[in-house]
Amino acid sequence: MQTLDLATTSLREMNATLQAQKDQTNATQWSIENPRGAHAIAVGLDAPIEVTVRGSTGYYCAGMNKQATVHVTGSAGPGVAENMMSGTVIIEGDASQYAGATGRGGLLVIKGNAASRCGISMKGIDIVVQGNIGHMSAFMGQAGNLVVCGDAGDALGDSLYEARLFVRGSVKSLGADCIEKEMRPEHLEILRALLERAGIDAKPEEFRRYGSARKLYNFDIDNAAAY
């Protein structure tokens, strides 16, 4: 286990060290000590390494991650795993707003709750939230899966494209063009696999599926009120 202590190591030095790791590196286990809510921790990684951040982070932890597994033992500030490409990010605590924003791949697991705009503009990322999510989550979600084991706030899936949304609890309201859809066997399989990868014990059959009604895909004057 390699250790980088942010009490004595600069952010730049820490990120440069992690970013320098290559596919074949032997240094696969890293520990970040004393994050103290710092921003941009472990961003731009591109190697199959495992990084444990021991504490809570500020904005954009694990931003644009590729391949790496980043495990935050505390909570994460806004934009955790934003634009993630691949790999896995696990947050033991809660995540602030914009978790997984614009993510294009990989798996983001939030063991606590996620605030507003979770999965905003998601483009292929899979997000599993064990708790609740805030309002406007999955806004303009294009692709990927958002799994919520708790409740969802207002305007879920507003202006949704092709992202799939699975919610076990209540949904306060659906956003424009977001509707409940039939949970078919293939969706149960997707959901089962996601829950398993996230290490969450929940039954897929308890979830409901939401998706785009596709009525806003091309401008129609009769839908003007929805714009």
């Binding site: 941009a40 731009g44 934003e82 294009r104 503009s121």
Partner: protein
Amino acid sequence: MNDHDKRIPQTVPIQSATFTNPINAEIRRAAATGIYDIRGGGAKRRVPHFDDLLFLGASISRYPLEGYREKCDTRVTLGTRFAKKPIELDIPITIAGMSFGALSAQAKEALGRGASAAGTSTTTGDGGMTPEERGHSTKLVYQYLPSRYGMNPDDLRRADAIEIVVGQGAKPGGGGMLLGQKISDRVAEMRTLPKGIDQRSACRHPDWTGPDDLEIKILELREITGWQAPIYVKVGGTRPYYDVALAVKAGADVVVLDGMQGGTAATQDVFIENVGLPTLACIRPAVRALQDLGLHREVQLIVSGGIRTGADVAKAMALGADAVAIGTAALIALGDNDPKWEAEYQKLGTTTGAYDDWHEGRDPAGITTQDPDLAARLDPIEGGRRLRNYLKVMTLEAQTIARACGHNHLHNLEPEDLCALTMEAAAMAQIPLAGTDWYPGKPGTSY
């Protein structure tokens, strides 16, 4: 047969100055279709512009440089504040961001070829970075937009600079749109969207709001790219003093300021014509913000929106810009709105010089289209040559003026080289009205 008594004078039919024929036509169009008019380009209305300024030239109080013998430098370095690798350009005229999707792949290639041959940079747009564009652009600025279409860390690191787009002059406060007819298989794949749907881009970034967040976002991008590439912040011309100051506070290396004549691929006509400031009105407040912060020239200012000639370049730089960016003018250099397509423009219900339905994908010149047959009309090598020529001419024109004003570098042009032809231009540019030493709002005067 009119039985009116011809001995009695008739009233002459008078067209309304309020309900003009174009306005009435738009009312009828709106009533028939139920949708607002969407088009490309920038503001077409007459606004005070660089045409309303003149250079004074040298005489006894200043002496000029010899036109073809004495050097007038045009080089500019962008991103000297924090970036480890600032961009060094041979000329201070850059190519503004225009997306693959809005433009054909051939057009993007031509822009890259032309810009590279002229020693300047080109810029991606709201559709990610294409291999053609990267391959043909020696200096490529990668836009970071609210949509984040195609955004990835590899392209970020391949970029020579990163431009965080907060807004643009044609639609400050508005998002983007690319209508379904231009969402081809390739465009759809790059943007992770179904083919053929109307693509909407958000007006705000998904993971930050406000200048404090922007500062953290810039930190993240610098950390991902190792602090190598300059980071630009692009804003539409609305509140230039405050927006420039906040962009600088957030850590920008370069601020790009786009006035309302700056073009867009597609947005509502009512937005283009009624929101934002003329380019001329933006520059002095922006420069003042930089000066107040003690960072004029250390944080570079790129001005865009209606730059057409070397005179416009020189005037923007005399007002304090470090460089300019062109978009619409570059497309015209490639062949947009060329009279040779007049018959086809007529079929589309328009005419040369007025064609602006760039969003429909039926561009006869093959530039603003994804139709393979139309796109094939533009030879990217010839297009690149034309753009290079145009950039060279603009540079020569700007040098000609600078020498006439006695300057051995375009950056030495200054407000004192200018006078204004109209009160409006004098007020907006804070340049004395021709023949006077006064402009409206001049400190120490009561007007």
